[in-house]
Structures are given as structure tokens and as C-alpha cells.
């Protein structure tokens, strides 16, 4: 099914952020329906829907929920990950701005399904405007008794709060997010134990991305069988694709999974600026491997198709680069980012990200040596898989993929004759 008219996250209804409008559109109906179901049946429905996480890892949401212990003496928590920080990603703020109650409703349904007593929305510190919008929406939902004691007349009670981050990219990593919420430095934790066993304050915890949770109300309302038909069956639903860079019409587009990458760039993104040719695309946020512009014909935006193409769907943040783009310069910028954001806990990442930045900088200055590319790959390969969290991998992939696919551009900056002897 390629029904591009299905838009439930950003339906474009005026004033949908107001609870009265949201209710008029059927909002909070899914919550009431869910409260009439057994919690396990809610989880089962989400499992059946194949809803996969929208934060980058594509982990099946229902399965994640099912990891939460049924009988726990400790309180259980849900963290909503609104730390949107992956360069090229600007979608969750759209949900919060235009459809915050879908996020709140999804959060409440998830909380009920897992028996959560408190849900915290961890929002990036810079999103002050969106934090205020969300807090206002939560207050409305408290007033209408959708949050708080005995929500919507049921026996179930839950609280929901917004917690503001303070500018660390790493806090989008789920275990780092929990540490940050506890008032610690944002260091990722070693897994296992996984959050469902030992999360916030040592209690069972689940962390879901904003967009993931905002998908939940339509699944409960329309059923898993309806949902699974949107887009690609193994990775269904709509996605909020963020298209940025050298395109005529950048922005966030809600479309089914599996849309053609070329359609995103040319049809929705309006094509490459100034009639230039496409050189490269980063398809899912800065950490996802860079693709050559001449290799994206037929590539679809879903987990499997992008993996086959040698990249990843990530957050669906598509960064478009025209023929004039200096790829080693862009990779230096990406490496600087991961170096800056490395928390410093694991040696391969702390040291390796710094070395990668330095070496690429040297190449860009025209002082590179022929063997630098091999050293770069060696450093990247030694970071990948050798760190507590995925930031190390995220730093390695752009470098590895750029050298593989744009090696000529790096080599062109290296004076081969001068450095061969060195």
C-alpha cells in the first residue's frame, strides 16, 4: 500500500494542539478504549502492529514493552525520549508543536499497558518553546483527568512530567538519558542489566521516542491489521521524514515507510537547489552511512531497504548534498560533532573520535599523508563495537562510508608525491 494521504501524526488540522480540538477529532478515544482492555492485550496489539522505534534503532516497540516485569514491587517508569539531537533530525518538535496530545495519549496508553506510575518526557534543553507547548498540553490533560488519579474514570493512575535536558547529545542514548534524569552526568550505562530490569533508580523502565509513542493511538483505534498495511509490512506506519540541505523545499514530510529516497528528494524536497546535480545523501541523520547520489535509484526508506543499500534508516533525517559539496569537509564537521559529544567514558571513543577529527582536518588542510586514509579506517574500525553505547559506532560509520564511497575526494587533497616518501 502506498497511500501517501494517510497523515495521522501531522494531519494539518488547525489548533490540534488544543485539547478541545483534539477531542473533537476523536482524541483520547484510544486511551478510553485501551483502559477497557487488559494491559497485556494492549501490548499484544502493539506487537502485532509491528510498530518499530522511531529514534533510530527500529526496535519493535511492543516487544520492548513486553520486557517489563508483570509483577514488580518497585514502581515502573516510562521515559519519553524528546532529546532530538541527531544532526539532520527535526521531526519530534513537529509532533510536539502540532499534535502534542497524540504524544500524551500514546504515552498514557503505553504507561497503562506496562503498569507505569510515572512518565517523564526528557526534552532537549534548547527546545524551550516546545517544552512550554508540551507542558501546557499536559496541564490541559490533567485538567480533563486524562492524567493523574483514576484517569478517564478508570482505576489506573499515572503522572506525567517534563524534564529538561541541558545540551548533551549523548543524553538521547537511553541509559544516559536515565542517568541525566537522575541528576547525574550523562554517562551511558553498561548493558545488561537492561532498563526493563534496572532503569531509573534501579526500577523497571522503558524508554520510547516521541514519534514511536505518537503512533500508538491510531494502532489502538484502528487495530494492528489496519496499521500493518501502511507502508512496508515489516516496518509499517508513516514516518516523519526530515529533508534538509541542498533542496528547494526542505521540511518534514509525513509519508508511509518505504517511500523512494529519490521521491523524497525530487518530489517532496523539490529537487536539488539551483538545478545542480546530486552528489551525496545521508539518509537517516548524521550517523548513518553516506550514500553516493548515483547509487540511490530504487532505494526505499525503510529499515531493510536502506540496510541493503549500505546505510540505515536512522531517524529518517535526509541530508541532501549537491555536486559542489566538499565531502571531506562535511565528514570533518561530522567527526568534530562526535568528538565534541563523546562523553569520554570509553577510551576508543574518547581518543578515537579526536584522532579522526584531527586526521581529517589535516587532510583538508592539504597536509594529509597517503597512509592517513588507512589510519582513519583503522581508528574507525577500532571504535566500532568497542564502546558502551552506540555513539562510538555513530562516529565510525560516516568516516568508514565516506572513505569507501568518496575515496577519490580524500585522495585528491593529498599530495601523493610529496607524502609517498614520508
Amino acid at each position: 500500500m502506498t497511500d501517501t494521504d494517510i497523515k495521522y501524526l501531522l494531519p494539518g488540522i488547525p489548533d490540534l494542539h488544543k485539547i478541545n480540538v483534539y477531542e473533537k477529532e476523536g482524541g483520547y478515544g484510544a486511551l478510553k478504549k485501551a483502559l477497557g482492555m487488559k494491559p497485556d492485550d494492549v501490548i499484544e496489539e502493539v506487537k502485532k502492529s509491528n510498530l518499530r522505534g522511531r529514534g533510530g534503532a527500529c526496535f519493535p516497540a511492543g516487544l520492548k514493552w513486553s520486557f517489563m516485569p508483570k509483577n514488580s514491587e518497585k514502581p515502573k517508569y516510562l521515559c519519553v525520549n524528546a532529546d532530538e539531537g541527531e544532526p539532520g533530525t527535526f521531526k519530534d518538535r513537529e509532533i510536539i508543536e502540532h499534535n502534542p496530545h497524540a504524544l500524551i495519549e500514546g504515552t498514557l496508553i503505553a504507561s497503562y499497558a506496562m503498569g507505569v506510575t510515572t512518565a517523564y518526557v526528557y526534552i532537549r534543553g534548547e527546545y524551550v518553546k516546545w517544552m512550554k507547548i508540551l507542558e501546557a498540553a499536559i496541564e490541559e490533560a490533567y485538567d480533563k483527568k486524562y492524567i493523574g488519579k483514576n484517569i478517564a474514570g478508570s482505576k489506573y493512575s499515572v503522572d506525567m512530567y517534563v524534564h529538561r535536558g541541558a545540551g548533551a547529545y549523548i543524553c538521547g542514548e537511553e541509559s544516559s538519558l536515565m542517568n541525566s534524569l537522575e541528576g547525574e552526568r550523562g554517562y551511558p550505562r553498561v548493558k545488561p542489566p537492561f532498563p526493563a530490569q534496572y532503569g531509573l533508580w534501579g526500577c523497571p523502565t522503558t524508554i520510547n521516542n516521541v514519534e514511536t509513542l505518537a503512533n500508538v493511538p491510531v494502532i489502538i483505534n484502528n487495530g494492528a491489521d489496519w496499521y500493518i498495511k501502511i507502508g512496508v509490512e515489516k516496518h509499517p506506519g508513516t514516518l516523519l521524514y526530515g529533508v534538509s540541505g541542498h533542496v528547494n523545499n526542505p521540511g518534514v514530510f509525513e509519508l508511509p515507510t518505504g517511500v523512494l529516497l529519490t521521491d523524497l528528494i525530487y518530489k517532496y524536497g523539490g529537487g536539488v537547489r539551483s538545478g545542480k546535480k546530486l552528489k551525496a545523501v545521508i539518509p537517516g541523520g548524521s550517523s548513518t552511512p553516506i550514500l553516493r547520489g548515483d547509487s540511490i535509484e530504487g532505494v526505499r526508506m525503510d529499515a531493510d531497504s536502506l540496510m541493503e543499500a549500505g546505510s540505515s534508516i536512522g531517524t529518517g533525517g535526509v541530508i541532501v548534498m549537491d555536486e559542489d559539496t566538499d565531502i571531506p569537509d562535511i565528514i570533518e564537521r561530522i567527526s568534530r560533532f562526535y568528538h565534541h559529544e563523546s562523553c569520554g567514558q570509553c577510551t576508543p571513543c574518547r581518543e578515537g573520535t579526536g584522532w579522526m577529527e584531527k586526521i581529517i582536518k589535516r587532510i583538508n588542510r592539504g597536509e594529509g599523508k597517503l597512509k592517513d586514509l588507512d589510519v582513519l579506517l583503522d581508528v574507525a574500525n577500532n571504535i566500532e563495537g568497542n564502546t558502551i553505547c552506540a555513539l562510538g559506532d555513530a562516529a565510525a560509520w560516516p568516516v568508514q562510508s565516506a572513505i569507501k564511497r568518496f575515496r577519490d575526494e580524500f585522495e585528491a587533497k593529498i599530495d601523493v608525491e610529496k607524502t609517498a616518501a614520508a
Binding site: E84, G183, I334
Partner: protein, 154 residues
């Protein structure tokens, strides 16, 4: 250290968590909102208030880029220079702003009016290039737009 209204706010926030320490980031924001930055004395005050060691508070303040342990300019100009913004000209914008305010990234103007920072992705890639001044986002920037903004901040 915190005025009464902010102290009440903090007390309310503390109740949201099973442990007081979780209110550390919110508490630091309250201090910073009131004083413009977080002094050593303020860190000690927050440490005592939340019953955690001073060293812990210091460690947290220095970990997060949005907490300032020194006074900064009244207008904190933060230009995103990450990929999407860089592709659309954030570098020339940084130099332009630096020239207009006679400061380099990382510096504060002598009159204490401006601090200029290059920052990482602010989640505005579709409206690049962009910058944040204090709490506000300014998107789809051009030199003219920036000049008008700077003028309004004088």
C-alpha cells in the same frame, strides 16, 4: 540564593521524583535564570538544598554545555554550524556576526552585550541556517535578517 518564588518552584519540582537529586538539572536552571550563571556559591547552595555533595554538582555543571559557570553576555548568540546549516552557509554567518560584534566564537563583547558560540545541531535543519539567541530560535537566516536582529538587541 534562590528567591522565594523560585524556591517554591523547586520544592514543587522535587516532589516529582523519588530522589531529590533528580531535581538537580531543574535547580541549576532556576539558579541560572536568576543570576545569569552558576557561581561556586550557588553550586554549594544547591548541593546543600538537595543534600548531595558539592563535587557532584560541580561535575554536573561542567558536563552540560547549557550551564554556565561564568557570566556571559546578555544576548547569547548560538549559531548552529552542523551539517545542514553548514551546507547552507553557517560559516560566513558566524564570521559576519563576529565582525559586527567584534568578537570571536567563544568570546563575550566588552560591553557584556553579546556572547557568540558555535553550537551543534539544534534540530532546525529544515530551516537552516539558524541560530538561537537566549531561548529563541531564529531560522532561515540571511545576512539582512541577522543584521536586523543584532540592531534590535542593541
Amino acid at each position: 540564593m534562590l528567591n522565594e518564588a523560585r524556591r517554591e518552584q523547586l520544592d514543587k519540582i522535587i516532589k516529582r521524583y523519588p530522589k531529590k537529586q533528580a531535581a538537580l538539572l531543574p535547580a541549576l536552571y532556576l539558579v541560572q535564570e536568576q543570576a545569569g550563571y552558576i557561581s561556586k556559591e550557588a553550586m554549594q547552595y544547591i548541593a546543600d538544598y538537595l543534600e548531595i555533595p558539592y563535587g557532584h554538582v560541580l561535575g554536573v555543571v561542567t558536563f552540560y554545555t547549557m550551564f554556565y559557570d561564568k557570566p556571559i553576555g546578555r544576548h547569547h548568540i548560538q549559531v548552529c554550524t552542523n551539517v545542514s546549516c553548514r551546507l547552507l552557509g553557517s560559516e560566513p554567518l558566524v564570521s559576519h556576526i563576529g565582525k559586527q560584534c567584534s568578537i570571536k566564537p567563544g568570546e563575550t563583547s566588552e560591553d557584556g552585550r553579546f556572547t557568540l558560540s558555535e553550537v551543534e545541531c539544534l534540530g532546525s535543519c529544515g530551516t537552516a541556517p539558524m541560530m538561537q539567541v537566549n531561548d529563541d530560535y531564529h531560522e532561515n537566516l540571511t545576512v539582512e535578517k541577522v543584521d536586523a536582529l543584532l540592531e534590535s538587541m542593541k
